[in-house]
Point group: C2
Chain length 163, copies 2
DNA sequence: GGAAGCGAGTTGCATTATGCAACCGAAATA
DNA sequence: TATTTCGGTTGCATAATGCAACTCGCTTCC
């Protein structure tokens, strides 16, 4: 345990603070989830989550600024505004699911009776975990750090980089 | 987009709020990460993260209460206290990595030059994503909700349930 | 053995964020 | 024309956060 050890000078340099700045408070995360559940309008978010209206307003603006939601006034009813998830938001789904699965395992009183399934065969999805480049599941003890330029990465980009 | 749709009455019932209550503020997440980087002592957390001492104290107590860290006074130097990650904490690693990868992809100025690798072959790990029960990767559009009791789940428990 | 230092916190106070309820203005509806 | 609906603001009370200084029980060094 604790064998994972980044050079402490570099610890601050990773994507986590950035990610947390965008969706690092409880409400933003819950708003995102509501978004994944198809909620698109101010009042729906508000009544669904029970969040204060000023805070909701503030968070939605931030999320729009950060490209998590797009904000489009409705065509047919100009009072309404649609908040839609962007691709950037959809990329957050694995993180959200991982967190939710953890919560189900450890903190939920009664596990939800809704299960996320593969629409194709309607079987429950696998719990989120870490995999090697070839798909083998990895445990915590299998992991290690390496300097980026020394790694013969199969696919670069937003891949397994960092933490 | 937005085809995923839980029954709104049940939306509140899932693991996410529980998870967020435990590690749902920016600091708790950062403390957890520092823990994964081998940090174990109060002052190390403090100087590493630049968090106020009172807040750190508060968060560590909460995390210990919630079973994320264990708190053990040191044998050989009784001034020191060791905060160690528990198994429950280690189960949070996929969520943390997923979030970090997202942050690296979207928000990081300079991507970290440290990469998480499989210690066995020293190749970068795969980006975290969702998989079907048989290991096939799933896209957002492949997902759907199903009532838990209707699902012939291969392995139950903390598996793909919910969200 | 005594003085100085360290590690892990507390305490007090200023600043900031959150929550609640009431209000507003434009667009739709009756 | 009067009333609702929707998406917000505004003002004010309460709670959380951040900073610096302080405590207190060890250890270490002389």
């Amino acid at each position: 345990m604790g064998h994972l050890h980044e050079n402490l000078r570099e610890v601050v340099e990773c994507g986590l603070p950035g990610a947390l700045e965008v969706i690092g408070d409880r409400w933003s995360f819950m708003i995102l989830r509501a978004g994944f559940n198809g909620i698109r309008h101010f009042d729906s978010f508000q009544s669904e989550l029970g969040i204060a209206r000023n805070i909701l307003s503030n968070r939605l603006h931030k999320l729009v600024e950060n490209g998590i939601f797009s904000r489009e006034p409705c065509e047919h009813d100009k009072r309404k505004v649609e908040y839609r998830l962007t691709a950037k938001a959809i990329d957050l789904l694995p993180a959200l699911i991982a967190l939710r699965q953890w919560g189900e395992k450890y903190t939920s009183k009664v596990p939800s009776n809704l299960v996320l399934v593969d629409a194709r065969d309607r079987k429950a999805i696998e719990p989120v975990r870490l995999h090697a480049h070839d798909g083998r599941p990895l445990a915590y003890s299998d992991l290690d750090w390496e300097e980026a330029d020394k790694v013969a990465s199969t696919d670069r980009g937003a891949s397994g980089e960092c933490c």
